[in-house]
């Protein structure tokens, strides 16, 4: 039953192909049906595969399906080959499950778009690429998915390419990702050289067999992680993600929240033996994750664009996942990836339905009091916000707690402290968003207000389903304090993920940590409540008091400007200079100089070509004299 798992990526691929070729001529209804159905079919197969996987003994993991030999030249071998194991099963379920809901949502959201078929072509293509990424059995094929999702990201961010900002954002995303990918591919080459194969099973046995030294492991792990900072929007390559919000909102939910951006976390978990071997690389992952978590959260504090707040929040939450991976709690990182997929896509879709209601408005300063106009969107949004803030017993609480507990248990108190600080900020900015959008004074223009309406069922049903999962998804991974063997999720991943050094904490300490993280979340919500409901003048006075900090945060630490000034502009200006002064003047100058000096000498010689016999006779005479002189002396 499990040997059909390779169909999971195949079905969306077929659908993409049909839509790409015939999409223009097909009716909208059919397009929606086919696109959604393809993902749904993959979802069903994923479920079947999961069931099959549970019935298979751990020894036979991973199940591999080798379709054909793809690139093979000399010692370079890469097959088109898929694998099924707990890790890829979880990812496939998230991608197809959440993906299906977002496809359905898109049917409503994009209903009036001119490029309807193009949209679903891209969305199916994305699903395909993402499934390749998570199901490939070797690192080269994984790179295909890795770049493929990057392409879809480019296409979908720039979906409304008539807008300069959208076209720019798409291009930026692709190029920034490519920087990471360049490092990633070098990492792959090191693997191929030192392991002799890109198959994950071979890599793992090389590592367990001691074929890879710690130095090499660090090198490979760091190179791969640079790729992950691009794809998963971590410092220093996170800059593309906020701009990526130019894309349609369901795209932000699917690609830039639930699935693609978490690919880095998946990759690190997939390579967990490597990161366990290299302590230094793991430390890099943990620190980058922690710093990104808090750094991105601070930027979310001051944004007025509803989607940008969520974008920074995503960067920050992925930072948490990397904290988990970096401290050796890969299962916790994956757990957060899984819960985050529900609540963050919920938040984005709910934001999309706010935009839908407000004729595309994104600025929270022009919202407020929407609670009574959007009786369905509001509670779902609220559930998402509570979940991400880490309030018991919603899903985000369990996963975030698992990460922070492990960070503490592994002795990384600094990382833990950053995580706790980030938790305050998270709760604050999420409830700032809730209060600004749904509570307080109504700041919409009357024109907009007239049209406020709840979206069609195609959009609300996915919201409700996602809200449901945002609440309950965490119950499959309960912490130790609730009982010994309730962490079913971690247990399920054990065959793939080396058992993290069990948190050697007393139950008392565990309880204390939980209480702290819940307390800070509540504090964050409380501050937001005071700032934006009770005493709305406080934020203004703070801005007036600390204009520098506010400006710094509001302008995102000027990182875009710094990158432009240090990398982009010098490259372009420098190239222009080289082109003008070197390529045209020196190289081509030398070429043309050779040519013109040839014609110059030619011209001089042509003076001797007078056609007058007496001149020739004279030259002849001179020559003869010279010749005789030469002979004589």
């Amino acid at each position: 039953m499990t040997d059909i798992f390779w169909l999971i990526p195949f079905i969306p691929a077929m659908s993409t192909l049909i839509l790409a070729i015939f999409g223009q001529k097909l009716p909208k209804k059919y397009i929606s049906f086919q696109a959604c159905f393809a993902v749904f079919a993959s979802f069903i197969i994923s479920v079947i595969s999961l069931v099959g996987l549970l019935q298979t003994s751990h020894e036979s993991y991973p199940l591999v399906k080798n379709l054909f030999s793809w690139i093979h030249a000399g010692s370079f071998k890469a097959d088109l080959s898929f694998q099924l194991d707990p890790l890829s099963a979880v990812m496939a379920l998230v991608v197809t499950g959440v993906g299906f809901l977002i496809h359905v949502y898109s049917v409503g959201y994009m209903a009036n778009d001119k490029s309807y078929s193009r949209y679903f072509t891209y969305l199916n293509l994305f699903t395909f690429a993402m499934l390749i990424l998570v199901m490939s059995s070797n690192v080269v094929l994984m790179f295909v998915g890795w770049e493929g999702v990057g392409l879809c990201s480019y296409l979908l961010i720039g979906f409304w390419f008539e807008k300069h900002s959208a076209a720019n954002a798409g291009k930026k995303a692709f190029i920034v990702n490519r920087i990471g990918d360049a490092a990633f591919i070098i990492g792959i080459f090191f693997i191929l050289i030192y392991v002799g194969s890109g198959e994950f099973t071979a890599i793992n046995s090389a590592i367990s067999g001691g074929a890879i030294t710690q130095g090499v492991a660090t090198l490979i792990a760091v190179l791969l992680f640079v790729g992950a900072t691009g794809k998963s929007a971590q410092i220093p390559l996170y800059v593309w993600l906020p701009d990526a919000m130019e894309g349609p909102t369901p795209v932000s939910a699917l690609i830039h929240a639930a699935t693609m951006v978490t690919a880095g976390v998946y990759m690190v978990s997939r390579m967990n033996l490597l990161y366990t071997l290299s302590v230094d690389a793991a430390q890099v992952v943990a620190v980058v994750g922690a710093v990104t978590a808090i750094y991105a959260a601070t930027m979310a504090l001051t944004q007025n664009d509803i989607k940008r707040v969520l974008a920074y929040s995503t960067i920050s939450q992925i930072g948490y996942m990397f904290i988990g991976c970096g401290v050796g709690a890969y299962a916790a990182g994956m757990f957060h990836l899984y819960t985050h997929a529900f609540f963050k896509s919920l938040l984005f879709l709910a934001a999309g339905s706010v935009m839908h209601a407000l004729s595309g408005e994104l600025d929270m300063r022009k919202m407020g009091g929407l609670r009574k106009y959007l009786p369905l969107t509001y509670p779902t949004f609220l559930i998402g916000a509570i979940a991400i803030s880490g309030i018991p017993f919603l899903s985000g609480f369990f996963s975030k707690d698992a990460i922070l507990t492990h960070a503490f248990a592994s002795g990384q108190y600094f990382v833990w402290a950053l995580g706790i600080l980030g938790a305050v900020l998270t709760a604050f900015y999420m409830f700032r968003l809730i209060f600004l959008t749904f509570h307080g004074k109504e700041r919409m223009t009357p024109e907009v207000k007239k049209h406020i309406h709840e979206p069609p069922p195609a959009m609300t049903v996915p919201l409700v389903i996602l809200a449901f999962f945002s609440i309950v998804a965490g119950f499959i991974g309960l912490p130790v304090v609730f009982g010994k063997n309730l962490n079913w999720f971690g247990h399920f991943l054990e065959p793939v993920i080396k058992k993290s050094h069990e948190a050697h904490l007393t139950l008392g300490t565990e309880w204390l940590l939980i209480i702290i993280s819940v307390a800070v979340a509540l504090i964050g919500i409380l501050i937001a409540y005071i700032f934006y409901i009770k005493k709305p003048q406080i934020p203004h006075s703070l801005v007036a008091r600390f204009p520098f900090i506010y400006k710094l945060l509001y302008n995102k630490y000027y990182v875009d400007e710094i990158y432009n000034a240090t990398f982009v502009n010098p490259t372009i200006k420098g190239s222009e200079l080289i082109y003008d002064k070197f390529d045209l003047k020196v190289i081509d100058g030398a070429v043309n100089g050779t040519a013109s000096s040839a014609s110059f000498f030619g011209k001089i010689l042509s003076y001797f070509q007078t056609g007058l016999i007496k001149d020739y006779a004279l030259i002849f005479l001179l020559g003869a004299i010279l010749f005789i002189a030469y002979l004589l002396f």
């Binding site: 000399g74 390419f161 190029i175 490519r178 050289i193 040519a595």
Partner: protein
């Protein structure tokens, strides 16, 4: 009786060109269809090469030999796993090129197509020649139609561009001609027979000192053709001024001749000299990759942008050629085909735009996608192929090239991998400025999307791109034997020479006469020669 398939493929276009002379110049449609028929038949016949090609052997296949002028100047053609695909690339692209200039060329259609056909014969001749003299004849003959194609049907500065192109190439190839004759005389002195046969030359081992000069002469000719930095400045000019079809053929096939020349002649004939110049060559390639990419970034003309992108891509191909391991060389050949498709296709796209707006400046465009969605999809695929997106042809070649280089030198590969970033930057930026954004130029509103003819010639390219990206096996397996043979040949020669050098203690400056065929002439013969020399 064996059918001389290779000769048919080589000379069928020429025969077509001769027949074309007898068709009246005003019957343009007939002329076009006739030419299309000729190149299509050539393509179909050339497919038999692929299917009956024996992948197990590295020996040349479809060999035809015949006496021609004498003194070693013979008609001797054949193909191996390296030239096979370059011939196929040429015959595959020719119908596409003819279709692309269907309405683009309005003046002197007949002459134009005659030159195109002659050009095809010249190109195929270069790839199939196994006789160095014959090779040189084709190498030069091919310049003539190209000279006219740019000079007559080109843009505003066509005369400047075409003369620059021809002089540049001639400069290199004249030195090569001298080198060929030196090689010829060395061979004659060593063995007493006249030969231009490349396989005869493979057998002899040359004194490194002599190799240096000969290598430099050959390498210069090929480096100009590739073009390698700093011999690249003719390329943007030639591309910008050439008609679309000229640009396509130039980028897709003619540049490959340089790389092919290195693989077929310069490297196997002069391995020691290669060893000596390797650092310089590798650095030039690396500069070419980065420099070409940076220059492409800031071009204002779409065509010169694509031209500089070729400099960058060819830099990577040459880097892989010089890395000289199986992965790299197979990658290089694969990338040659790939680059032929993708860059050729990009020039076709520029041609499509030019035919509608009569400008190549990036700033004159913007928002074209909105008006031409189908074209936009094709352009996008071609661009992604050029960027090296996995799943398309470019990735397979690029990844093998870089991996091969990586095996030889990690630092070179790491620096060379910047091409991945640069190519994304310059192409996406160009795509954004040309195809995306709001429409600002009024003219663009009148653009019509691709017509049937344009779609017909784009589709085969797209199919090939996906095929080569998803299932490269049919290509790679046919190369294996030849590539492995080439590498062993070079390695063995180097080894033999160092051994001989040690045993006989040959001083650094050796008389030409001492160089003999080490594989047939044994040590005794060498000693004999020494004695003769003393006398």
């Amino acid at each position: 009786m064996n059918i001389p398939v290779l000769s048919i493929i080589t000379f069928f276009p020429l025969a077509g060109a001769i027949l074309l002379i007898f068709i009246h110049k005003d019957r343009k449609e007939l002329i076009r269809f006739f030419t299309l028929g000729v190149v299509l038949i050539t393509f179909l016949v050339s497919l038999t090469l692929y299917f009956s090609f024996n992948a197990q052997t590295s020996d040349p296949q479809f060999v035809e030999k015949g006496a021609w002028i004498g003194y070693g100047i013979n008609y001797h053609i054949g193909i191996d796993g390296i030239s096979l695909f370059l011939v196929l690339l040429t015959t595959f692209l020719m119908p596409i090129i003819i279709l692309s200039s269907w309405t683009y060329i309005q003046k002197r259609v007949k002459e134009y197509l005659i030159f195109m056909l002659i050009l095809e014969t010249g190109i195929i001749g270069v790839f199939v020649s196994l006789n160095l003299f014959l090779f040189y004849v084709f190498w030069e003959a091919m310049l003539i139609p190209m000279y006219f194609l740019i000079g007559v049907w080109g843009g505003r500065r066509r005369i400047y561009a075409t003369i620059k192109y021809v002089l540049f190439t001639m400069f290199g190839s004249l030195l090569m001609l001298v080198a060929i004759f030196v090689l010829y005389s060395i061979f004659y002195k060593a063995t007493g027979t006249y030969s231009f046969n490349i396989f005869d030359y493979y057998k002899i081992i040359l004194n490194p000192q002599v190799q240096v000069w000969l290598f430099l002469a050959f390498a210069l000719a090929f480096a100009i053709k590739v073009p390698m930095f700093p011999f690249h400045t003719w390329l943007p000019d030639a591309h910008v001024e050439a008609p679309t079809a000229g640009s396509v053929i130039l980028a897709a096939v003619l540049l490959k001749m340089g790389a092919y020349g290195f693989l077929r002649f310069a490297i196997p004939l002069f391995p020691d000299a290669l060893e000596k110049f390797l650092p310089v060559l590798l650095i030039l390639c690396l500069i070419g990759i980065i420099y070409g990419g940076l220059m492409a970034l800031i071009q204002k003309d779409v065509k010169s942008l694509v031209a500089y992108s070729s400099v960058s891509h060819m830099g990577l191909i040459m880097l892989a050629v010089f890395a000289l391991n199986v992965e790299a060389v197979e990658g290089a050949i694969y990338q040659m085909l790939s680059h032929g498709l993708s860059t050729g296709a990009l020039f076709l796209c520029v041609g499509v735009l030019y035919e509608r707006a009569h400008t190549r400046l990036i700033k004159d465009y913007g928002g074209v996608s909105k008006q031409m969605p189908v074209f936009s999809a094709f352009f996008l695929i071609f661009m992604l192929s050029s960027i090296g997106l996995p799943g398309l042809n470019g990735f397979v070649g690029e990844v093998l090239c870089i991996f091969g280089v990586f095996k030889t030198s990690k630092i070179l590969a790491i620096l060379g991998v910047t091409t991945v970033i640069l190519s994304a930057a310059y192409l996406l930026w160009m795509f954004q400025r040309v195809m995306q954004g709001p429409i600002e130029n009024e003219k663009i509103f009148s653009f019509k999307d691709l017509n049937k003819r344009e779609i017909i010639y784009f589709v085969p390219i797209v199919i090939m791109m996906f095929w080569m990206g998803i299932y490269p096996k049919p290509f790679l397996r046919k190369m294996d034997a030849s590539v492995i043979h080439l590498i062993n040949q070079v390695k063995k020669k180097e080894a033999v020479f160092t051994r001989v050098q040690k045993e006989e203690n040959i001083p650094s400056v050796v008389d030409i006469k001492k160089i003999g065929d080490k594989e047939t002439n044994k040590k005794k013969d060498a000693n004999k020669e020494k004695e003769e020399e003393v006398k």
